[in-house]
């Protein structure tokens, strides 16, 4: 029992990171689904231009917490969020915040690839069109191409931009979704188990891509694979039963976890 209280005290406050710039920070975040208390007093900093991995047994609240960061939980009627979550020092749950604009700044890639039932081109152009980013057809083409290039999909689809996005393979669809997110130039990209529906080769491609994207974006990735967390992330947060147990540099978490729950999870004693 004391085990479970220790992180509560440790993370509810603000364990600030002095030497790196913090992009997103949560303090005392709580999430309720109706009566169910899904996230309990989580305090966490996400460093800019790094990959932060959320790990933990399933049902521990990783997705729930991730979806707080772009207020995607607003779409669930029974969901209620309290606490303080800031993007660049700005409270994103403030009344003055424009949720739509927030989501343009904090993009999202989902567990199951969800391309729109439109052409590949239209999938990528969707965001820029909504936000009026491009002033003409040429500029839009340019955005589409560069997004696909950065998502490593251009070579595979450049000859069939007009064919439906849903016709691609699972891995390609997921990269299409990443390209779609990149196209609106977000600052943060949230990824909820982006590889869990993919085969190992497609997974490797996405992991490589995440590593490249780090130079331009702040990335948060939920994963159930500890190897994946170790491979792609610089920082790792371990959740358990709605609480954040431990958060730190990935290397430290995996070689020298402070908490025995973390230790148990990464050595595979439970999960």
């Amino acid at each position: 029992m004391t085990d479970q209280h220790q992180p509560f005290e440790g993370t509810a406050g603000q364990p600030r990171i002095a030497d790196r710039s913090v992009k997103v920070s949560a303090t005392n975040a709580n999430v309720y689904y109706g009566e169910k208390h899904a996230i309990k007093d989580v305090g966490l900093d996400i460093v800019a231009q790094e990959v932060t991995a959320f790990i933990g047994p399933s049902g521990c609240g990783k997705s729930t917490f991730l979806r707080c960061l772009n207020r995607m939980n607003d779409t669930i009627d029974i969901c209620r969020v309290t606490g303080d979550i800031r993007l660049d020092e700005e409270d994103i749950y403030d009344r003055k915040i424009d949720v739509v604009e927030l989501r343009a700044r904090v993009g999202m890639v989902f567990q199951k690839p969800n391309p729109f039932p439109k052409s590949i081109y239209e999938n990528i152009a969707y965001g820029p069109r909504i936000h009026g980013t491009a002033t003409g057809k040429a500029e839009l083409d340019e955005i589409v191409q560069s997004s696909l290039v950065r998502a490593g999909l251009w070579e595979e689809v450049k000859d069939r931009l007009d064919s439906p996005g849903t016709g691609l393979s699972g891995g390609q669809q997921q990269r299409l979704c990443i390209a779609r997110a990149i196209a609106v130039s977000p600052e943060v990209i949230l990824m909820d188990e982006p590889c869990s529906a993919l085969d190992p080769i497609a997974t490797a491609k996405i992991e490589e891509l995440i590593d490249e994207l780090r130079t331009n974006f702040t990335i948060v990735i939920v994963t159930h694979s500890m190897q994946q967390a170790a491979r792609v992330s610089q920082r790792t947060a371990f959740f358990h039963l709605g609480r954040l147990i431990e958060c730190g540099d990935t290397e430290t978490i995996f070689t020298n976890p402070q908490h025995n729950l973390t230790q148990g999870y990464i050595t595979g004693r439970f999960g």
């Binding site: 999202m108 989902f110 969800n114 969707y126 909504i130």
Partner: protein, 466 residues
């Protein structure tokens, strides 16, 4: 005698077989049902099936063919002079069938016009005796068949008998028989439509019917009668039908679609739980109620309104019928659209929100296009409903076959004309009556086409997400 009693007897025998069969199966294994291949009840059903089904099938066949056979036998027994007309030639088919009706009436003890003739009463007696012996013979055979097959089945019961599988295939054949009946009925209806239409087209050229611009089906009954020879150009009817259906869709599509979008995307679950069934009640109102609503409330209102702005509106108008019909088909559009919109995966919406789209952008650019094929399907179904609708138009649109696109004028529709052609006493082979079949045939093809397209579109949409 009554066939119903025989049916009850056979059913009772089958029930008995069930009990006996179940007992025997458990008896065989000293009340240890585990040693049986199937549950004891299956052995019971197995015996009951053999007892009941063939006997009932025999009964059904007998009921179907007995009248024809008896009729032929009675006909054959008539003296030759009964089949000659006064002039000495053979009797016409119609006269023969009249005579047979007389015989049947006499046989069943009713007063009939022909009872005076001695050969008629003789034939009636003969018919009675045939029917009676036939019935008892049949009853005996059916019961014997049931009992015989049941006892055979009973003897076959052994712990190894795969009663469950046999009952299963029995059930399967029963289903096949049922669906065959449905299919055959449909085919029968289509064939009769085709056949009668063909008869119509031997009298009125197809091109006159399909492309003629004037519809006045009054044909002269007697040669000296004043009146036209009839004009069977169906174009005014199809234009009228199209006009009213268009007005109905103009009303139903926006209202139905927008309420579907509101209900599936915006409304709170509580409101939706109340509003959706409430809308669907519209579909449950009998069309005749819509009809007098249209004729007594809407049509006069439209006329009154037309008068105030100086328009000449007839008291029966396409607009009145179309408006009310539109209200009637709202649920077809809204309910199906609501279903397909709700079926668009939440992941699509979240994907769009995640890119910074607003709710209405998401609906317009992602949800609606994704649901569009299904929505089109719903609209086509509503259209085919509107085209086939009769009651409202009979009461509110009028009978005048005007060829016009003016919604304030009285028009008539295909269905209304079918009704008027067949109401009252008709000669069955006059082109006037047969025209109803031709109209029905064309209507059938149009709605069939719409339904096929609608179903294909809906199915295509389903495939996208499965």
């Amino acid at each position: 005698m009554n066939t119903l009693i025989l049916v009850l007897v056979i059913l009772a025998l089958a029930t008995l077989s069930y009990v006996v069969g179940t007992r025997r199966s458990t008896g065989l294994v000293d009340n240890k049902p585990k040693d049986l291949h199937s549950l004891p009840g299956y052995y019971g059903l197995y015996v009951a099936m053999w007892c009941g089904v063939p006997a009932l099938a025999l009964l059904a066949l007998w009921t179907a063919f007995e009248p024809t056979i008896v009729k032929h036998m009675v006909l054959a027994s008539l003296p030759a002079q009964a089949l000659l007309d006064p002039a000495g030639g053979p009797l016409s088919d119609q006269r023969i069938s009249l005579m047979m009706t007389d015989i049947a009436n006499t046989a069943s003890g009713n007063i009939s016009s022909g009872a005076s003739q001695s050969y008629i009463s003789e034939a009636a007696v003969y018919q009675r005796s045939l029917t009676d012996t036939g019935y008892w013979l049949m009853a005996a055979v059916a019961v014997a068949l049931g009992l015989g097959l049941a006892s055979l089945a009973y003897r076959r019961i052994s712990p190894k008998l795969r009663a469950r599988n046999d009952v299963e295939s029995g059930v399967k054949y029963f289903m096949i028989a049922c669906s065959t009946v449905a299919i055959l009925t449909t085919i029968g209806i289509i064939l009769s439509l085709l056949f009668e239409s063909y008869r119509f087209f031997t009298q009125v050229p197809v091109t006159d019917f399909l492309f003629g611009l004037s519809w006045s089906p009054q044909t002269a009954m007697r040669a000296d009668q004043v009146g036209s020879s009839g004009a069977f150009g169906a174009i005014p009817l199809f234009v009228g039908t199209g006009l009213i259906a268009t007005i109905a869709l103009v009303v139903a599509v926006p209202i139905g679609l927008l309420s579907a979008i509101y209900m599936s995307e915006y409304a709170a679950p509580k409101f939706r739980a109340f509003a959706k069934p409430a809308l669907e009640i519209l579909a449950g109102i009998p069309t005749v109620v819509y009809g007098f609503f249209a004729a007594l409330t809407v049509a006069p209102a439209i006329r009154g309104f037309g008068e105030t702005i100086g328009l000449d509106v007839s008291s029966e108008s396409a607009l009145a019928a179309g408006l009310v019909m539109g209200i009637m088909i709202i649920p077809f559009v809204s309910s199906l659209s609501d279903d397909v919109i709700t079926a668009v995966p939440q992941a699509m919406r979240e994907g769009s929100y995640g890119l910074g789209a607003t709710k209405s952008e998401t609906i317009r650019k992602v949800v609606f296009p994704a649901a569009l094929p299904g929505i089109v399907g719903g609209i086509l179904l509503a259209a085919s409903r509107a085209i086939g609708e009769t009651m409202i138009v009979v009461m509110a649109a009028g009978l005048a076959a005007n060829l016009t696109a003016n919604p304030f004028a009285a028009v008539t529709t295909v269905t209304v004309q079918i009704v008027t052609l067949l109401v009252g006493d008709q000669e069955f082979d006059s082109p006037k009556t047969l025209a109803a079949f031709a109209l029905g045939l064309v209507l059938f093809f149009i709605t069939l086409l719409l339904n096929v397209i609608a179903l294909r579109v809906v199915r295509k949409y389903r495939e996208q997400y499965d």
